[in-house]
């Protein structure tokens, strides 16, 4: 492997990794010694500076990772303000509705009501700060409980949970209880 290619591979690995990558890992994949890896990393960062790139590689406690350069922070701030998130999907909305009315509730209980796996909508809701973990339920496996957050109230313009509109409470308690205990 020539020098240029080694740099490209190094760059690609650090870029695609979900966590900082250590010199040891880089050395194993590239089949190069630690010293060479460190030399390559230094050259990459020099390239980024010379070419006025918007990012560079930074060493943190656990290894190397990409960060954007601080001088572009203002623009990245703007990115936050652009309303670029897609609206909540129907699936996420249904999951949120169940959590709002039945909190605290476990994933398995939500899945019983919705009849499908809810991993992906749960992580969307967690990521968007609409729900949070609320301890664990007693019982086998001690599953995680979920509840809505303060932000949830804020986004829907509610003072507190009592302000949630009442949805045919009788059906709610009769039918859902049966369904949940049947599990």
């Amino acid at each position: 492997m020539n020098w240029t290619k080694a740099k490209a591979v190094l760059e690609a690995i650090i870029f695609a990794s979900s966590e900082p990558v250590t010199v040891k890992e880089l050395s194993m994949i590239l089949e190069l010694n630690y010293e060479t890896v460190e030399q390559l990393l230094a050259e990459l960062n020099k390239d980024y500076d010379d070419q006025q790139r918007g990012f560079h590689i930074k060493e943190v406690a656990e290894g190397f990772q990409f960060v954007t350069k601080p001088e572009y922070a203002d623009y990245l701030e703007k990115l936050k303000k652009v309303p670029r998130q897609s609206p909540l999907s129907q699936a996420a909305l249904e999951t949120l509705a169940i959590i709002a009315y039945k909190q605290p509730i476990t994933r398995a209980e939500i899945e019983t009501i919705r009849g499908v796996r809810v991993d992906s909508s749960l992580s969307t809701l967690l990521e968007r700060g609409l729900i949070e973990e609320a301890g664990r339920k007693d019982g086998p496996g001690r599953p995680i409980l979920y509840r809505t957050t303060k932000d949830f109230l804020k986004y829907f313009g509610l003072k507190n949970l009592d302000e949630l509109p009442i949805v045919d409470d009788w059906i709610l308690n009769q039918q859902l209880q049966i369904d949940l205990t049947a599990d």
Binding site: K80, P83, P87, R128
Partner: protein, 263 residues
């Protein structure tokens, strides 16, 4: 011996397929009865519009016999197709009424037509699936960024997390859920009709005590549910396997008949 429908095919067929392991590898690759059927047709290099139904049905049944049916749902789907094929076969072998004119001949529908249409539609789905698979393999060579420190990761908490959704949408979503839940609960509350294969086998044998031969189509007449058809068909396969009955085509009458094994 009284198996409920949900357990019998799996256990039974599993036990006797040890020596046919080579077939199972191939069979595992089929995603459904249409996939298997299409494979048989393509392998034989025959015209999809003119399927030799007798041959193909026999081959389909032969595959089925060697199949390790892990999943009852899937097993049922294959058996249902086998029943369909045998019914088409029976219809094709029936003596046709003499037709007076060419119009009448044209009006007479080929019993294979519906199956051909389904096969053609399925074939397209399979083609698209193959193309998607190619794109998947290609796309998997591009790795996106998944880590690093970027302010974007904090966007979630600050931007509009719900988009255009209002409180009203939330309530509606919940009401709709409850509404959909009610019929499901009612359905689940109903006792499921059980079709025991042993019962179906007994029924066939009892039938053969009364008459020497039973027409294939008569076996299924009066069965209204998918489960009943499947159980009845499984019972027939089991009886054939146990050498208790014999399935023949009587050319005089053209129908497939089931008779006692005279061994």
């Amino acid at each position: 011996m009284n198996w409920p429908c949900s357990k019998a095919p799996m256990r039974k067929i599993k036990r006797r397929t040890d020596k046919q392991a080579s077939y199972q590898v191939k069979l595992a690759a089929f995603t459904g009865p249409l996939d298997l059927l299409l494979h048989l047709i393509e392998r034989a290099e025959i015209d999809i519009y003119n399927i030799p139904i007798v041959e193909i049905t026999d081959q389909f049944l032969a595959y089925l016999q060697t199949m390790e049916l892990f999943d009852l749902h899937i097993a049922a789907d294959f058996l249902l197709m086998a029943a369909t094929l045998m019914q088409i076969k029976a219809r094709m072998l029936l003596p046709r009424p003499l037709v007076e004119t060419e119009e009448e001949a044209a009006e007479e529908e080929d019993p294979r037509l519906e199956l051909v249409e389904r096969l053609l539609e399925y074939k397209k789905a399979k083609e698209v699936a193959t193309r998607l698979q190619e794109r998947e393999a290609e796309a998997r060579r591009f790795f996106p960024r998944t880590g690093g420190y970027f302010p974007d990761l904090e966007v979630a908490a600050t931007a509009e997390p719900v988009g255009q959704v209002t409180l009203w949408d939330l309530v509606q979503a919940f009401s709709a859920l409850l509404e959909s839940l009610l019929p499901r609960l009612e359905l689940e509350g109903m006792p499921e009709e059980e079709y025991s294969i042993q019962e179906m086998m007994d029924q066939i044998m009892a039938g053969l005590d009364r008459v020497p031969r039973i027409h294939f189509s008569a076996l299924f007449s009066g069965l209204t549910s998918r489960k009943a058809v499947v159980a009845s068909f499984l019972a027939l396969l089991e009886l054939i396997r146990m050498h208790k009955v014999l399935v023949q085509q009587d050319m005089t009458f053209g129908e497939i008949v089931v008779a006692r094994w005279e061994g």
